[in-house]
């Protein structure tokens, strides 16, 4: 059969996760208009407030224009040529258990190394898998429900917990925030929702695997995580995508809210299709991620390992409102071939004695371009605020680039802000030294790169750290010699 042939051919390509599944999809016609938004909202059976919010976002988006300040370059995106909604047909009746999930889909997950049935159980991870914008499987819900934890798809949350959604949605990233966030607010398809009630420590790592599948379907996930007073949650997001030819837009929004004494850890391993060796294809990843330390003594940590996408534009940020709140950002961003990454963070200190740490490791190989852009802002009110930032860049070869743009705005004289930066190149001398000990140059490179990233990997949960190390190895293949 030709589809099997195609699959084989695709699997045999460089990109290990480069295949896509033949699942019938139920799409809304391409293009964007109020009608399309009404259709999306109706298909999802949303309450009126949600539709109103989407329309308001859309009307605002029409007044905005695409940002061009990042150091990334891409051909113009035709927003009328994107289809804004696609749901697997199997969703119609709603799968009651994993057995009800389309077998084709299950095989896809298995190929990706995400066999929900076993791996989720073994790893003690609850998985809310997003396939083509709609959640098709949710596990461990009952166990979590026993603790009062809500972990479900965003669509379900809109239907089942409208008050929570209404209270918190857009309270960190308003629909007016930026071009891509407004677009997302208008058309977001699905995503994850998580609420941890007061005093509850979520007993497992919550995790979501995202995939982009149907052709020409922009992905507009929306994630909202709320840790109520004294609650704790660690959340993992990982993703892979099928091989494809044309550029695909991905504009997600993630909002985190930590109330008094609450803590949220959010980790991402991002491995979307980066484009081929000549830079063709690949995902455009324009993401708005922001956490709000709303209560005193709250803490939010972002940890990210970015190896994928043709273009990444992403600044997970923390607003430190509560007194003594803590914000952390740990990042490894790797660009190879013709990949471009413009990432960094914003730490906005509002509360007294707020502290933030930024540790950014950028690796560039091939023609890759890697920019760190960080803003540390200390408001007048932030007495005794402290920030420590460290940005290190590692270059492999001489055709790639690293750029660092630290912005610092301090309005309170008691604040202490420290910034350190370094750039190093993996030198021939280092490679020769390793070779002279019997270590092949590829292994030497991955050893040096992993050493460079060690402090960030330390922040990841164990299995994720192992995965991340492997990912770096795979992503750097062919970058020397």
């Amino acid at each position: 059969m030709s589809s099997t042939l195609k699959l084989d051919e695709l699997i045999s390509q460089d990109y290990k996760h480069g295949f896509y599944t033949e699942v019938e999809t139920d799409s809304v016609p391409r293009g964007l208009s109020e009608d399309v938004i009404r259709q999306i909202s109706a298909k999802k059976g949303e309450p009126d407030f949600m539709l109103e919010w989407r329309l308001a976002a859309y009307r605002h988006w029409l007044t905005m224009s695409e940002p061009h300040w990042a150091t990334v370059h891409h051909p113009p995106i035709d927003y009328q040529d994107i289809s804004y909604y696609a749901a697997p047909k199997s969703r119609k009746d709603g799968p009651q258990s994993l057995d009800d999930v389309d077998p084709e889909l299950r095989r896809t997950y298995e190929k990706l190394g995400v066999p929900l049935e076993e791996r989720a159980l073994l790893a003690g991870v609850a998985v809310d898998a997003v396939f083509d914008s709609v959640s098709v499987a949710t596990t461990f819900k009952e166990k979590l429900a026993g603790l009062g934890i809500v972990f479900c798809s965003f669509s379900e949350a809109v239907r089942e917990y409208p008050e929570l959604v209404r209270q918190y949605l857009g309270s960190v990233v308003p629909y007016t925030d930026n071009f891509f966030a407004s677009l997302n607010s208008a058309v977001f398809s699905d995503g994850s929702f998580c609420y941890i009630p007061p005093g509850v420590r979520c007993p497992m790592e919550l995790s979501t695997y995202f995939r982009i599948n149907a052709r020409n379907t922009g992905q507009f996930e929306r994630t909202l995580i709320i840790a109520d007073k004294g609650a704790y949650v660690s959340y993992l997001e990982g993703c892979t995508a099928p091989m494809r030819d044309e550029n695909q837009l991905h504009a997600a929004v993630v909002e985190l809210i930590a109330l008094e004494d609450a803590q949220i850890k959010y980790a991402t391993v991002q491995n979307w299709y980066p484009g081929d060796k000549e830079g063709r294809g690949g995902i455009y990843n324009f993401v708005t991620k922001r956490g709000d330390c709303r209560g005193d003594n709250s803490k939010i940590s972002w940890t990210q390992v970015e190896t994928g996408s043709a273009i990444t534009w992403k600044y997970p940020s923390v607003i430190l409102q509560g007194d003594n709140a803590v914000g952390e950002f740990y990042s490894v961003a790797l660009t190879n071939h013709y990949q471009q990454a413009d990432t960094g963070t914003k730490m906005v200190h509002l509360g007294k004695n707020t502290r933030s740490t930024i540790l950014s490791k950028g690796i560039s190989a091939g023609h890759g371009q890697n920019a760190y852009r960080g803003l540390v802002k200390v408001a007048k009110s932030a007495v005794g605020a402290r920030n420590y930032s460290q940005c290190d860049s590692l270059l492999l070869g001489d055709r790639c680039g690293a750029h660092t743009f630290p912005y610092i705005e301090v309005k309170n004289p008691t604040a202490r802000v420290e910034h350190e930066a370094s750039t190093s190149r993996i030198g021939e001398d280092q490679l020769f030294y390793c070779q002279s000990r019997g270590i092949a140059p590829e292994d030497a490179v991955s050893m040096i790169v992993n050493g460079f990233c060690k402090e960030v990997f330390k922040e990841l949960p164990m299995e994720f750290a192992v995965e991340a190390q492997k990912l770096l190895g795979v992503s750097l293949e062919g970058s020397i010699g």
Binding site: S424, F432, C434, S436, G438, A440, I448, G451
Partner: protein
């Protein structure tokens, strides 16, 4: 073990080695001495396979094989070890991690099972003691912030762990205090065996008091100008290199 014949080497088209002939047998220790810039490190690097140096003519055979056809890592796995005159720093990579990767790369090459962390640590701890090194050097980044002497000791530690067949030590004695010199010499002597050959590059007779060489060669202007027994080193210590170069020049004139 090692036969070098008529070896010519250039860097960026500049000839540096101009016809080296040298044979080292199993069980032997040879010392190479010679003025700064005479090409000692160049020879060491060429033997280890550094690609910055171009072999323009000549041949090197190692245990019956064409050494120059092998990549640097293949040479290492076949038992060649170079202790660097200037050991390289690798920030972020723990010393023990490099050493373990090296040991396992070589074991894999020999078809032996790789060592796990526990067995490896047991192996290293013994050798660490032999080298009088403290354990925390294992967990620091490779050579980063090491003192000059610590770097040299670390090279010898790697050698005694890797147990090469042919060890090339480029000025491992330079920069060592007297006690450290004894320790390093002890490490080298522990390696002496009928199956192994050692090539010492040194400027000082002192090391040769502890590690007694079978042969001493003087490298001058890219050639081996003079060879002799251990007493040659003592003579050099007293008289310097001037007379060797003059004598070599005379001999060349006479021969022409």
């Amino acid at each position: 073990m090692l036969e070098i014949s008529k070896l010519h080497v250039s860097v960026d088209d500049k000839p540096i080695l101009r016809g080296i002939d040298l044979a080292i047998g199993a069980g032997e220790v040879h010392a190479i001495m010679g003025p700064n810039g005479s090409g000692k490190s160049t020879l060491a690097h060429v033997l280890a396979g550094h690609d910055h140096y171009t072999v323009t003519s000549g041949e090197v055979r190692y245990r019956g094989r064409d050494l120059l056809a092998l990549s640097p890592e293949e040479r290492a796995r076949e038992g060649i070890f170079l202790a660097f005159q200037y050991p390289v720093e690798i920030p972020g990579v723990a010393n023990i991690y490099l050493l373990k990767a090296a040991v396992n790369a070589q074991r894999k090459h020999r078809g032996e099972p790789e060592l796990d962390a526990v067995d490896f640590l047991a192996l290293v701890k013994d050798k660490l003691q032999l080298m009088g090194m403290s354990q925390d050097l294992l967990y620091r980044s490779v050579n980063e912030g090491f003192s000059g002497g610590e770097k040299k000791r670390n090279e010898i530690l790697q050698m005694v762990v890797l147990e090469p067949k042919l060890a090339i030590l480029d000025e491992t004695d330079s920069g060592l205090d007297i006690d450290a010199l004894k320790v390093v010499a002890g490490g080298i002597n522990a390696m002496r065996s009928p199956e192994r050959a050692i090539l010492l590059v040194t400027h000082y007779q002192r090391l040769l008091d502890y590690v007694v060489p079978d042969r001493v060669h003087v490298l001058a202007q890219g050639r081996i100008a003079l060879s002799g027994g251990r007493e040659l080193a003592q003579e050099l210590e007293m008289r310097g290199y001037g007379w060797v170069e003059a004598e070599a020049a005379n001999r060349r004139k006479g021969g022409a």
